[in-house]
């Protein structure tokens, strides 16, 4: 019995050892296979990235399709009429407050633009009236004096020729009337705005003319010596009397009041008729969302007219030109047409969920358009009157009027930049605020040494950047890599073209007067679809060469950027642009040049950048399709003999 038990126990232990050994071998084998075969354990324990992406994409696609199907089914759900009406009204009501707020803000900006339009037109009219008074005063005095003097000389001639007595009566009448016209001209000169004085001058001139005519008639019956001086003198006198009388009549035909005269002289436009728009704006609280949208659109149109008038008046005052000329010179801002969403909102029928969603989208679009209108309106009001905005530094804020500030210096710079195109110039004397305060003196432009920078030198040293500070790692040799670029506009050869960015920088603006058609892209050779709509586009280049996004030939582009300087600095600017180009730094022309090809460093400008933000605007005209431009800032020490 004992033996049997011992045997069983021994057998059991052996079996167990064998079983464990087999299990160990199998486990070890499996572990070894797994450890040694990376492919196996990766596939077993980890999903590889591609598989995850693939499966994820499948899952997402399935989910997207399911969602689309559910959406489509939901959109087909028909809404009961009452519910549809209520839902539609609720959606409109939800957005109405925001729409009302936008209209209120557009109206505020509109009032500011209207005020500035009147202000600018008044200034122009007053200026024209003062100029006219000054000019007419001198003109009439001169003309009446000459007329009277001619009559006196005629008297001498007649005396010399011995026929004085025969024309004595007429001559005395002529002398008396020309003297009278002379006196009327003196008093009219002081009181030219007075219609009575002008009528008096016209009468006196007319009487002088009649007296001269009577004398001419009488003189025809008098025998005068051959080649007599008096005959020629009499003709001369008749001409002058005729001219004086005509001018006096013209003066007499001028509008009666000084204001009307100013308007007449400045050729200012008829007032903008905004009665309907303002009537709607006055009852805006009662308007529905679609009516508010229409009101905003109409108000924007009127604002554009007034803004154009205000800018033209400003330009005409500065350039001493007529309003019409200034208006022609001012670029057509080519404002974007707003979509007719008001009508769409009114006509939309909400019958199912899909219609409701579409209606909601239209409402959102209308709100986005109104927001854009508000931003543009505010921007325009700020441009006309920088103090109306909240910008702490209106001088450097974008959206500033380029044509109006510090004209005298600008004209000097423009002249120098134009005259000295191909020379390296030091413009700091004309640009530095230290100069104007008496430090280095307003010394004008000076030639820079002829030692020019090589392209290799510039390219190898320049790094991208826009900030100049003492702490900055990059202290010099910066190429400007970040730009806002707009274009293309059509380039019309031999025709001066003034385009909106030259007059205002408004990065939110949309212009519709750009190039149209399907020209080929200069690099990709693909056909582009240009509909004339242009917007500023953000552009960053990782190379020194910057290329406009829609690059094509016979086109004009503009590039705008801002640079930051921690203190006022004089910096060398190297510009590389082929074809014709113009560069403004802080609205002052520093470069006006035509080059056959892109070359950098051959013509430099030493420019003063002020502390804080500085604006740079480039106008590029491109004949050939390919174009690059580069703007590099170099430390003054780069030039031999400097620093």
């Amino acid at each position: 019995m004992m033996n049997t038990t011992t045997d069983d126990s021994t057998r059991f232990r052996r079996t167990r050892i064998i079983a464990w050994s087999i299990a160990l071998v199998l486990y070890g084998g499996a572990a070894a296979v797994f450890v040694l075969n990376e492919n196996l354990h990766r596939r077993t324990l980890w999903l590889d990235r591609e598989e995850v992406d693939e499966r994820g994409a499948e899952v997402r696609e399935r989910a997207r399709k399911r969602e689309a199907k559910v959406r489509l089914e939901r959109e087909r759900i028909r809404l009961p009429d009452e519910d549809a009406k209520e839902l539609r009204e609720r959606e409109e009501e939800k957005r109405r407050e925001r729409a009302l707020d936008r209209v209120e803000r557009i109206e505020e900006a509109y009032e500011e633009v209207k005020r500035m339009e009147k202000h600018n037109l008044d200034i122009l009219e007053k200026q024209r009236l003062e100029e006219f008074k000054e000019r007419e005063r001198n003109d009439y005095n001169k003309r009446t004096h000459r007329l009277h003097r001619t009559a006196e000389l005629l008297e001498e001639d007649l005396r010399e020729e011995g026929i004085e007595e025969e024309l004595r009566e007429e001559l005395e009448e002529v002398l008396a009337r020309t003297e009278e016209a002379k006196r009327a001209a003196v008093s009219t000169g002081e009181l030219i705005e007075d219609p009575e004085q002008r009528a008096k001058l016209a009468d006196a001139s007319m009487r002088a003319k009649q007296a001269v005519e009577a004398m001419v008639t009488k003189a025809e019956s008098v025998e005068t010596p051959r080649e007599g001086k008096s005959k020629k003198r009499l003709e001369h006198l008749a001409e002058r009397a005729e001219t004086l009388s005509r001018l006096a009549d013209e003066l007499n035909a001028m509008p009666e009041t000084a204001d009307q005269m100013g308007e007449h002289l400045a050729e200012t436009p008829d007032p903008v008729d905004d009665a309907d728009v303002m009537k709607n704006a006055a009852r805006k609280n009662q308007l529905s969302t679609d009516e508010l949208y229409d009101t905003a659109v109409e108000m924007e149109k009127k604002m554009n007219q007034r803004y154009g008038n205000a800018r033209a008046a400003e330009l005409a005052t500065l350039r001493k030109s007529t309003f019409k000329e200034a208006k022609e010179r001012l670029a057509n801002t080519g404002n974007a047409d707003r979509p007719n969403l008001g009508e769409k909102l009114r006509e939309s029928k909400v019958e199912n969920v899909g219609d409701l969603n579409e209606h909601r989208q239209t409402l959102d679009r209308a709100l986005a358009e109104m927001e854009n209108m508000r931003a543009r309106a505010q921007n325009r009001a700020n441009q006309l009157n920088p103090n109306s905005g909240k910008s702490s530094d209106p001088k450097t804020a974008p959206g500033q009027d380029i044509a109006t500030r510090s004209m005298e210096r600008k004209q000097q710079l423009r002249h120098v930049s134009h005259q000295q195109k191909a020379r390296s110039l030091d413009l700091t004397g004309l640009m530095s605020s230290r100069g104007s305060e008496g430090g280095s003196g307003n010394r004008g432009a000076e030639r820079l040494p002829d030692n020019r920078l090589t392209e290799e030198m510039v390219v190898s040293r320049a790094l991208p950047g826009r900030r100049f500070t003492d702490e900055a790692f990059r202290k010099g040799w910066l190429y400007i890599d970040t730009w806002y670029i707009i274009g293309p506009w059509d380039l019309i050869p031999d025709t001066p073209q003034h385009l909106p960015p030259e007059m205002e920088i408004d990065l939110d603006a949309v212009y519709t007067n750009g190039k149209t058609g399907h020209p080929r892209h200069a690099r990709t050779k693909e056909r582009m679809d240009l509909d004339g709509t242009l917007k500023w586009q953000f552009h960053q280049s990782d190379k020194l060469f910057v290329r406009p996004p829609r690059e094509t030939g016979n086109a004009i582009y503009f590039a705008y950027t801002e640079l930051y300087f921690d203190r006022e600095r004089d910096i060398l600017v190297a510009i590389g642009i082929d074809d014709r180009s113009k560069v403004w730094v802080n609205d002052q022309v520093i470069w006006n040049h035509t080059a056959q090809s892109w070359r950098l460093g051959t013509t430099l400008r030493k420019v003063t950048f002020r502390k804080g933000y500085n604006t740079v605007l480039i106008r590029m005209e491109n004949g050939a399709p390919l174009m690059d431009f580069s703007l590099v800032l170099c430390p003054p020490e780069a030039l031999p003999g400097e620093g």
Partner: protein
């Protein structure tokens, strides 16, 4: 005798009304002291990130939003590029270290995001974070 033996009942204060009162007070103070937070969120679908860091909420954070149509928002209100530039310039002058949060839709074109980031960097506003989708928040 046993019938005459009185059961001694000990008087005790019930805690239930006290607890009620405490809870009512708590709710009162919670409601009374809750300040309505300014809603700076815009209607966008935030991008998902598995490696985003959670940061403590900051009421002073300046929120810039970009929707899928490239529309810009500042503190939840629509704004224009020009206005945004002016506002950021003013902010950089006053408080360049201010925290800025960029809320963008997952479908917002990336060039628009780069444009705004560049605008911030150029103005010296470097404390910028990009908001991503957070399940707990939503």
């Amino acid at each position: 005798m046993s019938l005459l033996k009185k059961t001694k009942v000990e008087a005790e204060v019930s805690l239930s009304p006290l607890i009620d009162a405490v809870f009512l007070l708590l709710i009162f103070f919670l409601v009374a002291t809750m300040i309505k937070k300014e809603d700076k969120d815009i209607d966008i679908e935030l991008p998902v990130s598995t490696s985003a860091l959670k940061v403590k909420p900051d009421d002073d954070v300046v929120v810039i939003g970009i929707d899928r149509t490239e529309g810009l928002y500042l503190e939840g209100d629509p704004t224009s590029l020009t206005e945004l530039m002016i506002n950021l310039r003013e902010l950089a002058g006053v408080d360049p270290g201010r925290r800025i949060r960029l809320d963008t839709d997952r479908a917002t074109p990336f060039h628009r995001v780069v444009e705004v980031l560049d605008m911030l960097q150029f103005r010296g506003l470097s404390n910028v974070g990009i908001r991503t989708y957070d399940e707990h928040y939503h």
